[in-house]
C-alpha cells in the first residue's frame, strides 16, 4: 500500500521543524544579516583628494583632475536637468572625470557606502528612500556647505551664492543653528489646488473665508461635484493647506511652537478652529465619497476628472498628474482660506519651501567638486533649464523671465507674489518624519477627516504624539532659531 507518511516515528515533525527554522532564518534574517555585513566591513574611509588652487574662476578650489561622483534621485523631476549641469562641469574641468548616476533607491544604494566611509561627492537625498537627515547630521556624515554659500555666485562674481537664493532656503538647510548641511534645490509651493475653469463654471471665486468656502462647496455639491478630496491613505497631504491656515489664523508663533514640540502647542485655539473647519467639510458631506481609501494618485485622478473641486497638494502635482489633467483644466493654486477677518495673518499666507535636498557627504573624496556642481546648478541658466523642463521653481530667486510658464507654475508664482513676506515654513515634515506622517497624518488627521475622531479628540491624540516625540531621546530634537 502507498504511504504519504515517513516511516520513522517522529521523522517529519522534528526534521521539518529544523528545516522550517532554517527557512525562517532566510525569511527573517536577510535584512539584518546584510545590514550587519555593511557595518562590519569597517569604517576605513577613503582618501581625500587634494584641493586645487582657488582662483576667480574656481572660487571653491576644485582639484581639476579629481574624479567627481554625483548620485541623483530619479523622481518626479527626472534626471535631465542634472545631466545638463554635469555637462557644464565637464566643460569647465575637462581633465576631471565625472561619474553621474540616477536612482530611485537612494538609501539601498548609498547606505552601504556611508557605512564603509566612501560616499559619493554630491547626493540628491530624496524620494521614498530618503536617508534620515537627522541621523546623518547627528553622526557627522554631512559636510558644512557654508563655503559654497559664501562663494561668489556663478553669474555675478560680486554676489555671494547665498544672496541669490529664495528666502528660507538657507535656514531650511540648517539643523540647530549655524552650519548649513543641506541645500534644497527645488522650491515647492503648497496650498489648495483647483481648476479655475471648474470654479468659473460655478460662478464662484476662490473663497477667502471659511463661510465662503462652505458656500462654494455647497454650490459644487448641487452640481454633483464634491468640494474636496485628498490622499486618504497618505493624509499627511492635508497639512499642505491646513498648516498655513493654522499660521494664518493664529500667527507664525503657533506653527513654531508646534515645530518646537512645546507642551500644549496643539491646544492653541487656532489649531482647534482650523480642525473644526476641516471637520465641517466631512460633516456636511463635501468630501468626495471614498476619499479615505484613495492614495495620492487615485485622489489626484478623481480631482483631475472633475469629481472634486479642491485638493491640498504641492507644486509637483502639475508634473505628476500631467497625463490626467485635461488641457483646458486651467490649473491654479491658492493660499488657504482663513476663518474670518480676525485672523492674525492676511489672506495669501502660504506654505512654500525647499524640496530636493542636496548634500555633500563629510567623507566625500572630492567635496569641493560636489559643491562646485551645486554652484553650477544654482546659476540662472541652469535654474531656468530646470523650471522649463519640470514645471517647478528652484531655490534660485528669479530665473523665470523669458520662459513660458505652465498654468500651475504661473499661478504658483502669482501666489508667492501675493504672499510677499507671509510665507510660512512648518518643519515637522523634515524634522520629525514619523511623527508628521504616521502619527499626526495617518492616525490623527486621517482618522478625523474620515469621521472617526472629533476635532477635540484629534487635538488630544496629536498632542499626545507630540509629547511622546518630545520625550523620546532616540530622536534628535530641533528648535526654530
Amino acid at each position: 500500500m502507498g504511504s504519504t507518511s515517513n516511516n520513522s516515528a517522529e521523522g517529519v515533525g522534528r526534521r521539518d521543524l529544523i528545516k522550517r527554522s532554517a527557512a525562517l532564518g532566510l525569511v527573517a534574517a536577510p535584512g539584518m544579516g546584510l545590514l550587519s555585513a555593511c557595518a562590519s566591513s569597517g569604517g576605513g574611509g577613503q582618501k581625500k583628494d587634494k584641493a586645487g588652487k582657488k582662483t576667480a574662476k574656481n572660487p571653491l578650489g576644485v582639484n581639476d583632475t579629481a574624479k567627481m561622483e554625483f548620485v541623483l534621485f530619479d523622481g518626479g523631476f527626472g534626471k535631465e536637468y542634472a545631466e545638463d549641469a554635469v555637462k557644464i562641469y565637464e566643460g569647465n574641468f575637462p581633465k576631471a572625470t565625472v561619474k553621474f548616476s540616477a536612482t530611485q533607491k537612494i538609501q539601498s544604494t548609498l547606505q552601504p557606502r556611508f557605512n564603509q566611509g566612501n560616499p559619493p561627492d554630491l547626493i540628491d537625498n530624496s524620494g521614498a528612500e530618503q536617508m534620515d537627515m537627522g541621523v546623518l547630521v547627528g553622526k557627522n556624515q554631512l559636510a558644512d556647505l557654508t563655503p559654497l554659500l559664501d562663494a561668489p555666485s556663478y553669474d555675478d562674481p560680486g554676489k555671494k551664492v547665498r544672496d541669490t537664493l529664495r528666502p528660507g532656503i538657507v535656514e531650511m538647510g540648517q539643523f540647530d543653528g549655524a552650519p548649513v548641511w543641506i541645500l534644497y534645490y527645488a522650491y515647492t509651493v503648497y496650498g489648495v489646488w483647483y481648476s479655475q475653469k471648474a470654479l468659473d463654471s460655478l460662478d464662484a471665486e476662490y473663497p477667502k473665508t471659511w463661510d465662503e468656502m462652505l458656500a462654494v462647496c455647497e454650490k459644487a455639491k448641487k452640481k454633483g461635484m464634491a468640494g474636496w478630496t485628498y490622499a486618504g491613505k497618505y493624509p499627511y497631504y492635508l497639512p499642505f493647506s491646513l498648516y498655513p491656515m493654522i499660521g494664518k489664523v493664529g500667527g507664525r508663533e503657533v506653527l513654531d511652537a508646534i515645530d518646537n514640540l512645546e507642551p500644549n502647542a496643539w491646544k492653541h485655539p487656532a489649531v482647534k478652529a482650523c480642525f473644526e473647519a476641516y471637520y465641517e467639510l466631512y460633516q456636511k458631506g463635501y468630501i468626495l465619497k471614498g476619499t479615505p481609501g484613495l492614495d495620492h494618485i487615485q485622489s489626484q485622478t478623481a480631482w483631475a476628472k472633475g469629481e472634486a473641486l479642491f485638493i491640498p497638494n504641492g507644486s509637483w502635482v502639475e508634473n505628476e498628474s500631467a497625463n490626467v489633467i485635461p488641457k483646458d483644466f486651467d490649473l491654479a493654486v491658492s493660499a488657504p482660506s482663513g476663518i474670518d477677518g480676525s485672523d492674525k495673518m492676511p489672506f495669501g499666507t502660504i506654505w512654500a519651501s525647499g524640496g530636493e535636498p542636496f548634500v555633500v557627504p563629510a567623507k566625500a573624496a572630492n567635496p569641493e567638486g560636489g559643491m562646485e556642481q551645486l554652484r553650477i546648478m544654482l546659476s540662472e541658466a541652469s535654474s531656468k533649464n530646470f523650471t522649463a523642463k519640470v514645471k517647478s521653481l528652484t531655490a534660485y530667486n528669479g530665473g523665470t523671465t523669458g520662459i513660458t510658464l505652465t498654468p500651475g507654475l504661473k499661478s504658483g508664482v502669482a501666489a508667492l507674489q501675493l504672499a510677499g513676506s507671509n510665507v510660512v515654513n512648518p518643519r515637522l515634515q523634515d524634522w520629525y518624519v514619523q511623527l508628521q506622517k504616521e502619527k499626526i497624518g495617518v492616525s490623527g488627521l486621517g482618522e478625523m477627516m474620515a469621521g472617526r475622531l472629533t476635532p477635540a479628540e484629534a487635538v488630544k491624540k496629536i498632542q499626545g504624539f507630540a509629547d511622546e516625540a518630545a520625550k523620546d531621546n532616540t530622536i534628535k530634537h530641533y528648535k526654530h532659531q
Binding site: G31, A39, V135, N140, V442
Partner: protein
Amino acid sequence: MQHGKYRFIVGFLALPLGLYALFVVWPFIQSIYYSFTDWTGLSPEFKMVGFDNYTRMLHDDIFWKSLEHSLLFALVLPLVTISLALFFAFMINVGGRRRRGGPVISGVRGSSFYKIVYFFPQVLSIAIVALLFQFAYNPDSGAVNSILRGIGLDSVQPLWLGDPNLALWCVMAVLVWSTVGFFVVLFSAGMASIPAELYEAALLDGASRATTFFRVTLPLLWDTVQSGWVYMGILALGAESFAVVQIMTTGPGGPDYSTTVLVLYVYQKAFRDGQAAYATTIGVALLVVTLAFAAIVMRLGRRERLEY
C-alpha cells in the same frame, strides 16, 4: 570499511554546513550583537548600549500593535487557508457523486479544471496580486464596490483599506486568495495516495461525505496538514505579510496602524528611520515569535501515526 565512515560523512557535510553557518547562523549572531548597540545603519560608528533597545521595545506601542497583528496573521491565515484548501481538495478528489460507469472515488464534475483555477494565483508574484487588489479595493472606482453597486447595494460602500476595522481583514483575504491554490494541490497529491479501498469500505458502510472526510481523509493527511500549517504560519509572519501590507496599505501600515506587522516595522526602522540597531532588536523578537510558533504547532499537532 566502517572506520572511514565518519570521515566520509564529515567530508560531505562540511561544505553545506559551512555555507549554512556563514549565511544563516552568522547573520543571526551578528544581528543579536547589533541589537545591543546604537548603530544607525547610516554610519560605521556605534557603541554598546546594553539592553536599551529591548527596554524601548517593551514600551513601544507600535511594536505591540505589530506583534498583535503578526500573531493574528499566524493564527488566522493558516486556519482559514488550510480549512478552505482541505475542503476544495476533498471536493476535487473525493467529494463527487458516484457516476454510472465511472471510478468509485472521484471529484466533483469539472474538478481538473478547478484544480488549475485554484492554482492560478500561485503563478502571480505576490507584488502583482497586492497591486491588483489595491485597485479592486479602491472605494471610488474599484471592482469590489462596483459589484456592490451593480447588485443594487448602493448604500453599502465600505472604505475597505481605508477603514481601520476592515483593512487587516482585507489584506488577509488577499493572502488567502493567493496561497490557497498551493495547498489545494499539495493536499490533492496527499489524497491521491490514500488507498481507494479505504474510501470504498467507508462508502459501503454508508458513511456520509463529512464522516468520510473527518474519519478517513484528515487523519491520513495529518502530516501534510501540519507541515502546511507551519509553512503558512511562517509565510504569514514573514515575507508575504510584508509584501501585501507594504504595497496595499501604504501609509505606514494602514489607517491608524491597523495593519502594521513586525516585518514591516523592522523594515521601517532600518531603512526609513535610520535605527538599524532597534530594527535588529525587533528582528530578534520576530525570530523568537516564529520559533515559538513552529514549536507550538509541532507540539499540539503530535499524534499517533496511522499505519495503513
